[in-house]
């Protein structure tokens, strides 16, 4: 699931659930750690990680989004 919340660091402010453009989080009760309810709908915009006041969020990029690359020296032989 793309965003991962460290419950130990989370201050339960609810900001991530408010601002996520895709509604990935769900905070049904105030002052609780939001649930990552629709992780597959994450756009990886990073807004939640940037805005979380407690630095409690990391993004886990799915394996199949693998950024394909090669050693540039291969292109200059």
């Amino acid at each position: 699931m793309p965003p991962v919340i460290d419950a130990g660091k989370c201050s339960r402010c609810g900001l991530c659930a408010a601002i996520c453009p895709l509604g990935v989080f769900e905070q049904t009760e105030r002052k609780t750690v939001p649930a990552v309810r629709y992780g597959e709908e994450c756009w990886h915009c990073n807004a939640c990680r940037l805005d979380c006041p407690s630095g409690a969020i990391t993004l886990r990029i799915p394996l199949n989004y693998q950024l394909l690359h090669t050693d540039a020296s291969q292109l200059h032989r």
Partner: protein
């Protein structure tokens, strides 16, 4: 039935709080109107500009000289250019620097390099540069703050689902409160409505990761709502037949290509394009703006993959590129590259063409931003006859907002037909917790399957009368099944159902228009009309749907 929570009244309603919607709302409020902005998510971080942008198309006489026509040509020749009514491009360019100054005064850094505006990127060597380089990392928060300061009422988590009209024109919207798991309806009435819901993503399967519906370059919450809703009340759409495909790193689509400073190469090191052998911050490799299909061509002909090679870029320019990526909101990508040890100085990254989406295709507007339905305006990515992305949304949003606030009608406000509103409410309520129902994902993927195969975009894929006709029939069947069987467990899922149904309207409009354009042009490739007809070069195709469902297709000259 889902309950109607409240009815709101305003002078101007704005649907969508992205770049265009926020600028429109500020302009209308500063023009003295009572403005309510309805946003699907939260304006502080919603839409394609959510975490930043860094290039703002603009005409600035001290840099470009007094002859604006030089810059008009540059804009029309750029990747933004092909489908403009040039009169609108001129209006946009004339007002662009004013918008830049406003943004700067609102706390968005339009001069990150000191006292002067700097123009960089997306340019041919020795030709004028029209993109102002800026730092947009905080743009959504800054615009939201300014909107509030100007007196705009912002209602977040309140997507517009239908437009309401009477014989005189638009008179309001029906919106869905998705702020809690239990949805509720809100109606908002006003004589002026400005549509600004962004592009249409999720219409075709993501080209890199089919099945991962949200791996799109532009915001996947932008699902052609304005095009669909305006189409349903009879507004004219234009240029819907022309696919647009963005390009960028593979397979991480939420990225884009413009900030990278490098040279495109074949695997043996040969350059893809003739423009530059070494890229700098001033002039990058414009090959893929010009040879749009290059990355697909190289896969299809076996000469690929195509790489972007930044290893010859100077260390200063690489540091500059990294800063640019932060301004552009690509921090997710940067975090990923850092974590996986991918370093542009040492690694060449493969690029690809993403799936088609609708940007710069959609509502036809006039010089003031008004659509063919009186009182209904549109600005931004969903406009079909002028396009300048971030700058276009901002400037035309401003133009539309100012015009909408001027000349408001007096007297008692018009009200929509209560029967129509009730039918909409019943229709959307029918999806909630339908026993044994289907998921919105099935319908969204079904729609993408049909678009991929029957309304395909070039290169290497064709359309034809028989394919498009079959596609339209399959879409009707899918829609019937979706309307009968889709089920939503809560407000979030109901929103996805609404989006999917809106996308079906977009898909149908694309196919109707594609049937009518009997030639090949750009990525609209017809196997039954393989030539490009010069007589159609300056002809725009508009389509609209009449109340009974008949689709009216009309040709007109492009406005100069």
């Amino acid at each position: 039935m889902i309950q109607l929570a409240k009815t709101l009244h305003a002078d101007v309603l704005v649907a969508g709080g992205g770049i265009g919607g926020l600028c429109a709302a500020i302009a209308a409020a500063e023009g003295g109107a009572r403005v309510i902005l309805l946003e699907k998510a939260d304006t502080r971080r919603s839409g394609s500009g959510a975490t930043g942008n860094d290039h703002f198309a603009c005409y600035y006489p001290p840099q470009h000289g007094d002859d604006m026509e030089v810059i008009v040509r540059e804009l029309l020749d750029s990747m933004l250019g092909p489908f403009h009514d040039a009169a609108l491009s001129r209006r946009f360019l004339k007002e662009s620097i004013g918008m830049v100054e406003r943004w700067h005064s609102w706390g968005i850094n339009m001069k990150p390099f000191g006292d002067e505006y700097k123009f960089m990127g997306h340019a041919f060597p020795d030709r004028p540069r029209i993109f102002l380089k800026y730092d947009g990392h905080n743009q959504k928060a800054a615009l939201t703050k300014q909107a509030v300061k100007s007196g705009v009422t912002i209602l977040n988590h309140l997507p517009v689902v239908e437009l309401l009209r009477n014989d005189d024109g638009v008179c309001g919207v029906l919106a869905l409160d998705v702020s809690t798991p239990e949805p509720a309806f809100v109606t908002a009435l006003a004589p002026r409505v400005i549509l600004a819901t962004g592009s249409a993503s999720r219409l075709y399967s993501p080209a890199g990761t089919p099945g991962w519906l949200f791996n799109t370059a532009f915001c996947p919450a932008c699902t052609g709502a304005a095009q669909a809703q305006a189409w349903r009340i009879g507004a004219r759409l234009v240029n819907m037949e022309f696919p647009n495909r963005h390009a960028g790193p593979k397979f991480f689509a939420r990225a884009g290509k413009s900030t990278w400073i490098g040279v495109y190469r074949y695997p043996d090191g040969e350059q893809l394009g003739p423009f530059v052998s070494r890229a700098t911050r001033e002039v990058g490799d414009i090959t893929c703006d010009v040879w749009n299909s290059s990355f697909s061509d190289l896969i299809m002909n076996g000469r690929g993959p195509a790489y972007l090679d930044c290893s010859a870029t100077s260390a200063e320019d690489l540091a500059f590129m990294r800063e640019g990526m932060i301004s552009e909101g690509l921090t997710g990508l940067l975090d990923y590259m850092d974590a996986h040890g991918i370093d542009p100085a040492r690694h060449a990254v493969e690029f690809m063409q993403y799936e088609p989406h609708l940007i710069g295709r959609g509502l036809e507007i006039d010089i003031d931003g008004q659509t063919s339905v009186p009182g209904l305006y549109a600005a931004g990515d969903m406009v079909g006859n002028v396009r300048a992305d971030i700058a276009g949304a901002a400037v035309y949003g401003w133009i539309a907002g100012r015009h909408a606030a001027g000349g408001l009608p007096g007297g008692t406000p018009a009200t929509p037909d209560a029967g129509v509103v009730r039918r909409h409410q019943e229709f959307y309520s029918s999806f909630l917790r339908r026993p044994g129902g289907a998921s919105w994902k099935e319908a969204n993927m079904g729609l993408q399957q049909i678009m991929n195969d029957y309304a395909a975009a070039g290169p290497h894929r064709v359309r034809s009368a028989s394919l498009l006709t079959a596609g339209l029939a399959y879409m009707r069947t899918l829609r019937r099944n979706a309307e009968e069987h889709l089920s939503a467990a809560n407000a979030h899922e109901l929103l996805r159902v609404v989006e999917t149904l809106d996308l079906m309207d977009n898909g149908e409009a694309v196919m109707h228009a594609a049937l009518e354009r009997k030639e090949s042009r750009g990525m609209h490739l017809r196997s039954d009309f393989t030539f490009t007809n010069p007589l159609l070069a300056d002809k725009f195709l508009t389509i609209r749907r009449e109340e009974g469902g008949a689709v009216i297709k009309e040709w007109r000259r492009r406005m100069n």
